[in-house]
Symmetry: C2
Subunit: 202 residues, 2 copies
């Protein structure tokens, strides 16, 4: 549900827009949380860095999507938010949000629903990350991210970005896509993948 539909006017009025260059951090793990954000333009990724120094991507938010919902109830951010492209984000201050929830149960509930969606989203990602086989992981991604027709997936950004989001090396992803195409399972075109043998479930 778009933010516009449930966020009280008082909160929207308190929002602050911020522009980010590609690679620039909106916030880092441990920063004091200022509020939650809506991506207006571009793409912003939520990530953590593991002990080996690898970036673990938790979520990539595009225009209209929100991030850092959970930070409203926490004094600090629990992961990094970094612009993957040049981006514009709108920050809704924490204090205004919490105040609004007290006065407007509808807003509080809508926010709860947003958080609930986050939870489901994260669960799907855990399922994906649990798959060790590159081929199955890609299949899982494609079936989860297939468009309304269930057959085509639009790719945002580069394949290298996608590899990072999938938690694979870019070599593994290239090879896997090539193999799937050779097997007649998918068809690749500019910024798009078409499933030729759509699978159920996933």
């Amino acid at each position: 549900m778009p933010v516009k539909d449930w966020l009280p006017a008082a909160v929207r009025a308190a929002a602050i827009d911020r522009k980010l260059k590609a690679g620039e951090a909106l916030f880092r793990l441990g920063d004091r949380s200022a509020g939650f954000c809506e991506v207006i333009a571009g793409r912003v990724r939520m990530a953590r860095v593991d002990r080996a120094g690898h970036e673990v991507i938790l979520y990539v938010a595009g225009p209209g999507e929100t991030l850092a919902e959970a930070s409203l109830f926490s004094p600090a951010y629990h992961c990094d938010a970094i612009a993957s492209t040049d981006a514009t984000v709108r920050i809704y201050p924490k204090a205004a949000m919490l105040a609004a929830f007290d006065k407007d149960p509808k807003a509080a509930q809508a926010f709860g629903a947003t958080l609930a969606r986050q939870v489901m989203n994260l669960r799907t990602r855990i399922e994906q990350r649990n798959i060790r086989s590159a081929r199955e992981r890609v299949r899982h991604y494609l079936s989860v991210n297939a468009g309304a027709d269930g057959r085509s997936v639009d790719l945002q950004g580069t394949l290298k970005d996608l590899a990072a989001e999938l938690g694979l090396t870019h070599e593994a992803l290239y090879r896997t896509l090539a193999a799937l195409e050779r097997a007649g399972e998918i068809k690749r075109s500019r910024g798009k993948i078409t499933l030729l043998r759509p699978r159920k479930g996933g």
Copy 2:
């Protein structure tokens, strides 16, 4: 935060207790959501089954912990809930919860905080699942689940259960624990692991 501290009396009064045998399902993916649950006794795991038929464990709830929070805003459950041991759960009906949120912003906010914790929890699990090395994954688990002293981890259930929760085969877990013990990094005793060289971060 314990459920007792924020759940309105009206909702608590509407709760229903249910006993489960080990292995019995509280609900399955796709079932119409009835409400959210608190584990009174025993352990209940949230899981999905992947295409290869393997169970992917999303969360294991023990006494006092809650599950299926997100289902309040969804018509159906998004994963399975299965008792790992004989267990008792308390079900708080969806309708009573939503009604309470309308009247009691405090409760709605506390619920939001609970969901936010879920989100953080899931993020940590994604980070864990992103680690391919069994040794590092076990280290990550130990550091995240270390007790207040930061040096000991109490194990619930069997090592086999733990292996499933970590997303490793039980053989890999046995070998890894044995190797860590040989390396003098941990000490194992009945249902407990002690870290001999506590690590920062993780």
